[in-house]
């Protein structure tokens, strides 16, 4: 037998099931769940990911190093629902907390399951082991780096605060802004192709000739006729996104408002991106997220089948749908969390870390809103009252009619403005 050493670069010997045959397989990628040091090679200070330069920067001496990664976009590796993955997703979720070890001061830190990377609260060191799930596929493989910088976003927040007549005028200047906290949020993306056979009663308008006994002549009319039809469709769902954070932790309405994220900017995961950042691991397990995505796919399939009928009149539809080539990814997406105080109250803001799209709570100047809505409702009423007097004197009812119509319109507008203000208080 030949000497196998160094004969197949990149391969390692694995157990063989047959005597006389040596088997070599590709060397698996090294597990990244190791301690990494983020000390500056120039001054020994702590390195952090710098959004402006998209690299590792030392806040003390200005040292800058690029992050070793690669742009993968939508071609990023995805995973299938293998029995192994599905089982691992269920089992690993059962562990609640994990111990992390600080390599700098030796502190043992107990972190909730949610934490992927952390800084040591005792010494501030970033040299903390990454806590990653045992199953590689359940670790983030790709992420979308921050591309919107806090410096660029701050004026945008001020501008946002100043917008809208129903908010306090002093908001822009008096709001006490917190700093923007960058957070990587977990998302599941799902792709699948579906083939669906549908059967339904479809209504089609047909022209019918009939005898009109009153006009004593033959006339035509449109009649809706129902008949059973069937058909089939195929469709590929690409990268449906499901948020992996519990709604108790983050306001999902606000989160939905700052989407979409452009996944063509995905890069291969590197722990460098997480240094100095807050990272949230998934709280919604894979299987639950997949069920959410499937709900969306079902609704879309139903809509596509209805479209396939070629009619807007469809009833008693039944669908037989099968999935194929189901794929999923676990990705980290960038988000800035911020807040501000105003008049003794605290308000939340979220910003898309890629596009800078903003959503948040804003106080409403209810005094202003009430005044305006009352004015809109009362002025036409006043006009109607004058119109009534004019009619009594001159018999001309024109102003009364105009006033009455304007009053109705004013009430509708007032109610609409009021509900808009209510909504704006929750999310702007």
């Amino acid at each position: 037998m030949q000497d196998p050493n160094n004969h197949f670069p990149g391969f390692e010997q694995i157990p063989s099931k047959l005597e006389g045959v040596l088997v070599f397989a590709p060397i698996p990628e090294k597990d990244e769940a190791q301690a990494r040091s983020y000390a500056c090679p120039q001054c020994g200070g702590s390195l952090k990911f710098d959004v402006n330069s998209s690299g590792m920067a030392c806040i003390y001496c200005g040292y800058l190093a690029p992050v070793a990664t690669a742009h993968v976009g939508r071609q990023a590796q995805s995973f299938e629902f293998t029995l192994e993955n599905v089982q691992a997703a269920e089992q690993e979720w059962e562990t609640d907390r994990e111990l992390l070890h600080c390599n700098n001061c030796g502190a043992e830190l107990s972190y909730p399951k949610g934490a992927i990377a952390a800084s040591c609260p005792y010494c501030g060191s970033n040299k903390v082991n990454l806590s990653l799930p045992k199953t590689k596929s359940l670790r983030p493989q790709v992420l979308l780096p921050f591309s919107a910088t806090p410096e660029a976003l701050k004026p945008r927040i001020r501008e946002w605060l100043s917008k809208g007549w129903m908010h306090p005028k002093a908001l822009k200047d008096a709001a006490q802004m917190d700093k923007l906290t960058p957070v990587y949020l977990p998302y599941w993306t799902f792709s699948a192709s579906i083939a669906a056979d549908w059967k339904a009663e479809v209504g089609h308008y047909e022209t019918e000739r009939y005898y009109n006994s009153s006009s004593k002549s033959y006339e035509t009319r449109q009649v809706l006729r129902w008949r059973w039809e069937n058909g089939s469709i195929t469709h590929y769902f690409s990268d449906l996104m499901v948020n992996g954070v519990s709604p108790n932790r983050l306001n999902h309405t606000m989160l939905n408002a700052i989407e979409p994220y452009n996944l063509s900017g995905l890069v291969l995961f590197s722990p460098d991106y997480l240094v100095g950042m807050n990272v949230q691991a998934y709280e919604t397990p894979l299987n639950d997220a997949w069920q959410s995505a499937k709900q969306q796919m079902r609704a879309d399939t139903e809509r596509l089948c209805e479209q396939d009928t070629g009619s807007s009149h469809v009833r008693n539809m039944s669908i037989d749908m099968s999935y194929d080539d189901e794929q999923w990814r676990y990705v980290l997406l960038p988000l800035y969390l911020a807040g501000y105080s105003f008049a003794g109250q605290y308000y939340n803001i979220m910003l898309n870390g890629q596009t800078g799209k903003l959503a948040g709570n804003k106080p409403v100047d209810w005094k202003k809103v009430r005044t305006i809505t009352w004015l809109i409702a009362l002025i036409p009423l006043l006009l109607a009252l004058i119109g009534f007097i004019v009619m009594q004197i001159s018999g001309n009812s024109g102003l009364l009619t105009f006033g009455a119509l304007a009053s109705l319109a004013g009430i509708v507008v007032s109610i609409s403005l009021y509900s808009q203000a209510k909504k704006a208080e929750k999310l702007s």
């Binding site: 045959v21 070599f24 293998t82 029995l83 749908m321 189901e326």
Partner: protein, 345 residues
């Protein structure tokens, strides 16, 4: 031509057929043997005496007489206008055992290999149905194949790689079917002495590349098993094939014949293991012509009777005359079909 007669068991003689050039080892006590496969000439001593290669395995004929007779009866049944000689008992009486050769190669394989193997794995999918009660989901487990590269070394010995010893090996197998070599037993002289042994037409030197390919195929399956994979593709072997050793296995075939109206012999062959019969079942044109003649005579007499009976006979007589030719047409088309079959290989 006369048939062989059995005298005393002696060593084999090398004989050849002057008509088809097939060579045989004939037991020395057999005389005046006709070529069992072409039946066109008597075997004559070969110009060059050959030594019988080492016979490692022999598949003995495993059919009893009753089975052979039943097979021959089935073969003869339903033949159109058979020759008087085309009878199962005649065929059975003239059966001669012909052992025909196949090469067995043993060899060692040593070297590096490279392949892509497929590993089965299961994924969870679903099938969903929407009706009046909303959506219902059903879990479906699908099997998929994961493709992975593997490399390695192999050093193994292989026995009995099969390769043809006759140029018409494949044709013969397609005519009488394949053999189960696991029923073979070690070769003994007395087994060979009960029949003729056909001499191979392909020398081992011509088969070396073929055998290496076969060995490589065997090695590919072993590498797949060693890697615990279910599928294999793009297997390449880079190494040596050593100690190639060539022996033969003999397979049993029974050959017989029937004669036609002109005295020409038509060969029928039987797989000595599974009983499959092959041969051209020619129709006797002479017999068909005789029937046609009789029918024509009858038709003419009928036409005359109808003529004198002053019956309007035109259509009737035409039909009778056409019917009279059917046997001849049937025999000609039957023979045409049978001639499309190649003679026993």
């Amino acid at each position: 031509m006369t048939e062989h007669t059995v005298n005393t068991p002696d060593p084999f003689l090398t004989q050849t057929c002057p008509a088809c050039a097939r060579n045989y080892f004939v037991p020395a006590h057999w005389h005046n043997v006709a070529c069992p496969i072409c039946q066109k000439a008597m075997l004559v001593p070969a110009t060059q005496t050959r030594k019988m290669p080492s016979v490692e395995l022999i598949v003995k004929p495993s059919l009893d007489k009753a089975t052979i007779d039943a097979q021959l009866a089935r073969f003869c049944k339903g033949s159109a206008f058979p020759f008087p000689d085309f009878k199962p008992e005649n065929l059975s009486q003239r059966l001669v055992l012909v052992n025909w050769p196949i090469w067995l190669t043993d060899g060692d394989l040593k070297g590096a290999w490279d392949a892509r193997f497929g590993y089965d794995y299961q994924v969870e999918s679903s099938r969903e149905q929407m009706g009046n009660a909303g959506w219902s989901s059903q879990k479906v487990i699908k099997t998929r194949v994961k493709d992975e590269p593997r490399k390695g070394f192999i050093e193994r010995h292989y026995d009995n790689v099969l390769s043809p010893a006759l140029h018409n090996h494949q044709e013969r197998l397609s005519q009488i079917g394949s053999y189960q070599l696991n029923q073979a037993s070690p070769g003994k002289a007395e087994d060979i002495a009960t029949g003729l042994t056909q001499i191979g037409t392909i020398a081992p030197s011509e088969l070396e590349d073929f055998v290496k390919q076969e060995l490589s195929k065997w090695a590919a399956q072993d590498c797949r098993l060693a890697s615990d994979a279910q599928h294999i593709r793009n297997f390449t072997f880079n190494g040596d094939y050593n100690n190639l050793r060539w022996t033969q296995a003999l397979l049993p075939m029974l050959a017989s014949y029937y004669t036609d109206d002109k005295g020409t012999r038509h060969v029928v062959t039987i797989n000595g293991q599974n009983g499959a019969v092959y041969g051209q079942r020619m129709a006797s044109v002479k017999k068909a012509g005789l029937i046609t003649g009789i029918l024509l005579a009858v038709a003419i007499i009928l036409v005359l009777i109808l003529y004198f009976a002053e019956v309007d006979f035109f259509i009737c007589s035409s039909v009778l005359l056409i019917l009279a030719f059917i046997p001849l047409i049937r025999a000609a088309s039957w023979n045409n079909k049978e001639k499309n079959k190649r003679p026993p290989a």
